[in-house]
Symmetry: C2
Subunit: 242 residues, 2 copies
């Protein structure tokens, strides 16, 4: 049974540990110390141990972690032991880039259907998957049990797309459109905004350029945003400005 207070940031770090453990496995490394895994992930070892402690006992003191075992444990915690099915809405430039991104499948995220509002796109094939009319989205999702939707539409159609996904029973939405999308509270949504991402970088650069006499502190307990919408896609945490 998990501890009932898991910091959100712990989940994010678990995902990072997991990715690095997979890399270690590919390199043929079977055992790693907490110090090395922490270093490799750029966290401090105490943080790593604390993160894992929420979910049980891992590793052997003085030896370290068995890479495959820890990877499998985290895989289970993150819900990645199963394959996830995704639909893509939007057979446009961004949609195509996502289909050819190549990293989703490696992690168990599989695009199984593509839908578009535009008749001109229907019938085309992207990455071997035919583009189908949005009118059959609901039926397709209900029949197949697809749980994740990726929206790569323009602003105007994005809310429509989200409404259709919600109606069809989707559980999570990754949104690459720029507008605000409203979904019921029981739907997980992640909004992608590359520009906000750049904002945090240019802030840091501007500060350095001007050699202002202050620095960004650690995130403290006053960090209580509860955003679900309009949240940036960003490195977490942000590197300090000087």
């Amino acid at each position: 049974m998990y501890n009932n207070k898991i910091p959100r940031a712990t989940i994010l770090r678990l995902s990072m540990y997991y990715r690095n453990l997979q890399r270690l496995l590919r390199k043929g490394i079977n055992v790693i110390s907490s110090a090395d895994l922490a270093h490799y992930t750029n966290v401090n070892p105490a943080q790593l141990r604390k993160d894992l402690s929420y979910f049980g006992k891992f590793g052997v003191r003085g030896v370290g972690y068995k890479v495959d075992q820890l990877a499998m444990s985290i895989q289970g915690i993150l819900g990645l032991s199963k394959q996830w099915q995704m639909v893509l809405i939007g057979a446009n430039q961004i949609g195509q880039a996502l289909l050819q991104y190549g990293q989703f499948e490696k992690r168990g995220y599989n695009f199984v259907s593509i839908f578009d509002f535009d008749d001109a796109s229907i019938g085309r094939t992207i990455g071997g998957i035919p583009v189908r009319p949005i009118t059959i989205l609901e039926d397709t999702i209900k029949k197949s049990g697809i749980e994740l939707g990726v929206i790569a539409m323009s602003n105007e159609k994005a809310q429509d797309a989200a409404n259709m996904l919600v109606k069809a029973g989707i559980k999570g939405i990754l949104n690459f459109s720029f507008g605000r999308i409203d979904v019921p509270d029981n739907i997980d949504i992640r909004n992608v905004d590359f520009a906000i991402f750049l904002d945090t970088m240019t802030y840091a650069i501007s500060q350095r350029n001007e050699t202002k006499n202050y620095k960004i502190s650690e995130i403290t307990s006053d960090f209580d945003i509860k955003n679900k919408f309009d949240v940036p896609l960003t490195s977490m945490p942000l590197p300090c400005a000087v």
Copy 2:
């Protein structure tokens, strides 16, 4: 003079406030209360006021903020009063999608050059910008004063691309490749990983599916990751699971 302890999350929220203020301006809304702006950004009003208080006094008690003034102030804080020039390395699918993303220019981020390692791409034009050989990258950046680089290469070439950008004097890198890229400490880098993004979503969905008896807590002061590499591109903060 700014307070010398700015929480990292404050910068991220400033970017979100800024985006929402711009939306309000487009809708012709000239004054907004802190409660409304906070609600619109899904933060609590105390958080909004605290975030702004790091940078001075804003707004009028009982009235609210002048939307254009606050937007301009935040623009200045974030270093967005100027136009930023960016180079793209990688005239591939993702690179093309980024060029046609449409949101960068609106925020003052302008792609001015495209480079590629692959001779086959050289001479093509994407979004009106010719693709040029990587061999002239350093010279181009040094002459033009470009400060930001966007890497959309595959793993193998990404580190080479980063090295060239660093050598040319770039200040910040937005990295869409999947491998780990090492850069000197004085270079800001943001790594984009859509899969980690999905991980946090599937974790939440898995928990809900299994109706486990725990919840994700607020981020606390033990949130001390100092990652600069291998960090996810993610909603921040993560919505609570259940």
